[in-house]
């Protein structure tokens, strides 16, 4: 992917975008947030919130519509055996199935990481911080 320029100092004021009341955003649901032309997918996975860039870099399919499931892994930690892992934490693009770790935005099998956003909950209100 194109390299992002380091944001020198990043002094720009951060903006908090209200997403939903906590009571309207229960576990197992997701929200599609558009800020200008930027789309962000926000998930509540068993009480933990995750916000990621919402367009798949492959062909721009909306990641907010992706299913959450597990995937197969095979690495030194598994002694190079293929195992099913990360159940419920792999976001699968609804377009063609690219898989992302919902915690980090890292794509499985690609040297690629989706931008992630901080999510805060204050006074029963869920925000993303940009």
């Amino acid at each position: 992917m194109s390299s992002e320029k380091p944001r020198s100092g990043s002094r720009r004021p951060r903006r908090k975008i209200p997403v939903a009341r906590l009571s309207d955003f229960p576990a197992g649901t997701r929200m599609e947030v558009s800020v200008g032309s930027v789309q962000i997918a926000v998930f509540n996975v068993e009480g933990d919130f995750f916000a990621l860039f919402g367009r798949c870099p492959h062909q721009s399919a909306p990641l907010s519509r992706g299913r959450l499931q597990g995937t197969v892994i095979c690495n030194a930690d598994t002694c190079w055996e293929t195992e099913w892992a990360h159940e419920g934490e792999v976001l699968v693009c609804p377009g063609h199935g690219m898989e992302y770790d919902i915690r980090s935005g890292k794509a499985f099998g690609y040297d690629l990481r989706l931008r992630t956003y901080e999510v805060s909950v204050e006074d029963g209100q869920v925000f993303i911080v940009m």
Binding site: R15, M31, E32, V33, S34, V35, G95
Partner: protein, 391 residues
């Protein structure tokens, strides 16, 4: 990055279970409005049950038997699904939503968005027709499919049909072409890539080309995965995963068909006949063109019918963009097209609604001049299929 002034919208959404939806068309609706858009590879639900009423005699009885088979809830009796389930059991563990079959209503809803001017319908179920072992069965299925399609999809705004032929019975294939060529909604003859043995340039198939040329109906070769068969040209005997079948099988079969047609001198014998290749990507086009040119220097006397270099025939072939390879840089697609001289022959194709369909966003992200984009999105396809611009 977020300015205070930027509008914010929040919407609760559900996981998408149906790739028939194509929000990407909406996303680019404004940018595409006013342009002629032809989607040259579209599929609708054509599973065997729709053909039952068009089968005759003992073939109808056999079809009834096939339709009684229950393959774990897969939509009735899909020949392709049966094969795929057995051979590649859960190979992709249902990773993306399974390709849903598009109903006529799905197709019409997509057309009603007003973005796509023409959808060209190609067979799904009968793409493996080339490797059905019984020629009569294959031909009967092709006849049933063609009649079903012209009955069910005629007189729809912007919907056109490619009939399919069973290469196993060339004389009967020619009759199919004669029967349907005059239909105003029939715009091409589809010959599936896989399982055609001997290769499609062989003299035994010439009645098919003669008939198509007689009616000025272009030929479209459509890629199909090998699934279980291990016959010509590069079949599953060589591949152990579906990814390998998909990646190599489609372009290799396409290249072999092109090579076979050109080396048999068919473009010389039928100079007005137009050819297209669908669902095999694009990047191999320069390879087959210029590789053959290099060999032509040494082996020209084997091909005495040719009047010019192989590449000068192949550059006249039309080619659908699906399955567009993942070219890494935005300028790469235009460079590639330049390399195979394809400005006037490359046609946008989505393969909607199949699993591996290309979203239009995947094409729009590539940089090119406006004239080239217009040609690819519609103008070239209008010429190939003999259609009139609707906008």
């Amino acid at each position: 990055m977020a300015n205070e002034g930027q509008p914010v919208t929040v919407q609760r959404v559900e996981p998408s279970l149906n790739p028939v939806q194509d929000e990407d068309l909406d996303q680019y609706g404004e940018e595409l409005s006013g342009l002629t858009i032809v989607d040259v590879d579209v599929h609708v639900d054509d599973t065997l049950m729709f053909m039952l009423d068009y089968m005759e005699g003992h073939f109808r009885k056999r079809m009834e038997t096939v339709l009684q088979a229950d393959f774990k809830g897969e939509p009735g009796n899909s020949l392709r699904n049966m094969i795929a389930h057995i051979a590649w059991l859960g190979s992709s563990y249902d990773k993306p939503p399974r390709a849903k079959l598009a109903t006529k209503e799905d197709l019409l809803a997509r057309m009603e968005k007003g973005i796509i001017d023409y959808s060209i319908l190609f067979p799904s179920e009968l793409l493996p027709i080339g490797y059905l072992p019984e020629p009569e069965w294959a031909a009967a299925l092709a006849t049933a499919y063609n009649q079903y399609m012209v009955d069910a999809y005629k007189n729809l705004e912007g919907v056109k049909i490619a009939i399919v032929v069973a290469p196993q019975q060339p004389a009967r294939a020619a009759l199919e072409i004669d029967r349907h060529a005059g239909h105003p909604d029939v715009v091409s003859v589809c010959i599936p890539d896989a399982g055609v043995n001997p290769p499609i340039g062989d003299e035994k198939y010439w009645p098919i080309f003669e008939a198509a040329a007689r009616h000025d109906l272009p030929i479209s070769f459509h890629g199909i995965e090998a699934l279980i068969h291990d016959n010509y040209p590069l079949r599953v005997a060589h591949f152990h995963t579906l990814m390998q079948v998909n990646s190599m099988g489609f372009p290799f079969t396409s290249m072999l068909q092109i090579m076979s047609v050109v080396c048999a001198g068919i473009p010389v014998r039928f100079p007005n006949l137009k050819f297209a290749i669908l669902e095999a990507g694009l990047t191999w086009m320069p390879f087959i063109m210029y590789r053959l040119d290099a060999a032509y220097l040494r082996y020209r006397t084997e091909l005495p019918a040719l009047e010019k270099k192989p590449s000068e025939y192949i550059r006249d072939w039309y080619i659908g963009t699906h399955e567009l390879e993942a070219l890494p840089r935005r300028g790469d697609l235009a460079k590639l097209i330049d390399l195979y001289q394809g400005r006037d022959t490359t046609m946008w194709a989505s393969d909607w609604p199949h699993l591996e369909r290309d979203l239009i966003a995947g094409f729009m992200r590539y940089e090119m001049d406006d004239a080239l984009r217009r040609k690819i999105l519609g103008e070239n396809a209008l010429r190939f299929f003999g259609l009139t611009a609707r906008k």
